[in-house]
Structures are given as structure tokens and as C-alpha cells.
Symmetry: C2
DNA sequence: TGCAAAACGGAGAGCGTCTCCGTATAGTTC
DNA sequence: GAACTATACGGAGACGCTCTCCGTTTTGCA
């Protein structure tokens, strides 16, 4: 008769969506955001461009989906750094290192996420909140050991900047480490 | 009979080149690198796309020409910072501030130049050498006051990272200043 | 099995960088 | 000034990109 029920999600749609994200993750990780075209993702996932764009209206939104689960790692990284039995400076540095390494895990992510930090309209807004919250926890935990006046946004931007440089220039881990050491020492009250 | 002499530069070519650079500088400064198209520059300079591309084979090379004179300011900025009669930390901070402000003078320049720091094949290679040399002068002048092991590349990248974030997020001067203060303190020996 | 909601996919719009090549012009030689 | 050629001009268009429109196919409840 009349069509009453509204479908939840059609099986083929779910399958395609999953395959797209999976394929896109591999491509983005290997070649970076800009070097991967949407046509390329569509072909690799064996769907038409129209299908790809129905699931993800913009390339940015696809990237966001690729980075989805990955933001969850942040809070566990904070925990690990805070439970460390060491001076404040070392706990801070451990967190900064973990944070930077998560940002550089995907080529192009560091600059994008850091640029989105103050923009609530960005597709990455939710991830930014997670990051800011994590840095806030660090500030509250280390508290008096830190330079007065630092806030979560400042730390996020400083580390984001370092991560973006490391990412762009494809620097080795020790170059990143020495820059983060400078930042960590600068953040500790003198 | 036979044509012997080789022309130096034809007058119309020189005129067009100058007008292109002038127009492009205004456009890049106002809208940033990515937001300006080559067609737009060609139209504003009243030349055809072919002419534009003969003078500047890539968009990057046009950007390089726009930034030409500007790199000369660097050395005078170093001088000014070094002749300051103040503690090492203040002289360093003054230089970092000047450096960052030069990098953010043109939208999009900070990330580009910083990314080119280690790449001799980049169109910006000459400018990078100037920058690295300037930071080297700072290191030699402040010497023992600095954290052991810092080099010019490291400082260039740290400030470049901060400048890129400031540029991307269009942050006010005081946000930049507080980040640079962290970097400066981290660079001073504790 | 019938049927409508939902998803599919390809052609193509619109914009970007950059190229090719026929035409126009500057500047030298007589 | 006229002839002549190295040089510069500029527009049409190749190619690749993101993203859209819409006719066709598939899915799954009745």
C-alpha cells in the first residue's frame, strides 16, 4: 500500500561508505591530503564520483571521517603522560611529544587541524575541542610548574606549529624532539 | 644583411614585467597566495596569460619575484636587534618578533618559506639562505646566553612554525607575542 | 511480486594552472 | 624610412581538479 517505514541505512550504502573510508585512509596516509584526488578515491573504492560525494559532500569531510577514531587516542595519551612519575617538565614534554606525533601521523593533518582551532564552523571542530580539552587537563595538572598565563589554545598552537613544520619538511623524529624541548622549557616557569 | 646583435631586453617586455610584479604584489598582499589566480593577475596587468607565463613560468616564481626586495630587510632587522642595549633574552625576543612579522607580512609566505628551508631546489632557496645567515649571526652574538646545541635551522623553523600559525588563523599581534615569548625563553639557557 | 525510497554512477559544469602557436612589434641595419 | 628578424604578445584550449545533476538501478518492506 503506502510506504510507511523509513529505512535506517541500506546495506549497499553502508558497505560503500566503509570501503571508501578505508581506501581513503590508506591513500591519504601514503600521499598526503593534497596529492590525493577525489576521482582517485572513487576509482580505488570502485564507486562513481557521485556516490563518493553523496557520502562526503566535500573532500574535507572525507578527511574528517578518515581521522575519526584517531582523536580518541588523545585522552589516553594525556593519561599516560600525567601518571608518569617524573618532574613536571618531563611529563609536559612527554605529552607534547605524543601530541605532535599524533598530529604528524597523517600528512597534512597538523596544519589543517591547527588552523581549525579557533573556527567553530570547521569540519574538524569536534576534534579541536578534544585537543583543547586535553591541553586544559595538562595545564590543570601541572599548574604551578607552568609559566603564568599559558592557556590550552596557546599550547595547541605552539605544538601545532612545530608539527606542521615537521610534517611539511618531513623532518626526522630528533629534529621534532629538539624543537619540542625548546617549547617545553619555555612553557615551564623560570 | 645578417642580423648580428642580440637584444638585451625589449622595452615592452620590461614594462610588462614591472607592471605584472607590481599588480601581483598588491593582489597577493590583499588576498593571499592561494586566493589569487594567474588569470586574475594577467587581467589586472592587462596582458594575456601567455605573456604572464613567459615572464614567470610558475605561480611560485611570480611569488618569489614579488617577495624579492623584501628579504633585504632581514639584515637590517638583525642589526637593530643586536645593537639594542638590553639583556640577551630581550635582544633575542626583539629579533624573533621582527622575523615573525616579516614572515607574516604576506599571507601564505610563512609556511612556504619555512617549508623551503631545507630544499635547495626551491625558488625561495636564496631567501632561505639569507634567513639562516641572519639567525646564525644572532646565535654567534648571543652565544653563551643560549641553550647549548641550538642552530640557525632550528630557530628558523620554530619561528616559521609560529608565524605560519599566526598567518593561517589570522591571530592578533599579542597572540603572536606570547608564543614568541615562550620560544625565546626556551632558547635561553636555563 | 510490486513498488517507492534510497543509492548508484557517469556526463559535464566551472575553475584552476599552464602550453602552443599564429600574429604583432621592437629595434638594427642599410 | 624600409626591410628584416629576434623577440614578445595573447588567445584558444589541453588537462586536472572539485563538485552537481539526473536518469537508472538496487534495496527491502508490504
Amino acid at each position: 500500500m503506502v510506504y510507511r517505514k523509513v529505512f535506517s541505512v541500506r546495506a549497499d550504502a553502508q558497505r560503500n561508505r566503509d570501503r571508501i573510508v578505508e581506501v581513503a585512509r590508506a591513500l591519504f596516509r601514503a600521499k598526503g591530503f593534497e596529492a590525493v584526488s577525489m576521482d582517485e578515491v572513487a576509482k580505488a573504492a570502485e564507486v562513481g564520483p557521485g556516490t563518493l560525494y553523496r557520502h562526503f559532500p566535500t573532500k574535507e569531510s572525507l578527511y574528517d571521517a578518515v581521522l575519526e577514531a584517531w582523536a580518541e587516542k588523545v585522552n589516553t595519551a594525556v593519561d599516560r603522560a600525567l601518571t608518569l612519575d617524573a618532574p613536571a617538565r618531563d611529563r609536559l614534554l612527554k605529552w607534547l611529544t605524543a601530541y605532535a606525533s599524533m598530529l604528524t601521523e597523517h600528512k597534512g593533518a597538523a596544519a589543517r587541524i591547527t588552523a581549525a582551532l579557533g573556527d567553530p564552523g570547521s569540519p574538524f571542530a569536534a576534534k579541536c575541542q578534544t585537543y583543547l580539552g586535553a591541553n586544559q587537563r595538562i595545564i590543570e595538572a601541572l599548574d604551578s610548574a607552568l609559566r603564568p598565563g599559558v592557556d590550552a589554545m596557546q599550547i595547541s598552537r605552539l605544538v601545532g606549529g612545530v608539527a606542521a613544520v615537521v610534517d611539511n619538511s618531513e623532518l626526522p623524529a630528533d629534529a621534532a624532539a629538539s624543537m619540542l624541548a625548546v617549547v617545553a622549557d619555555g612553557l615551564i616557569a623560570s
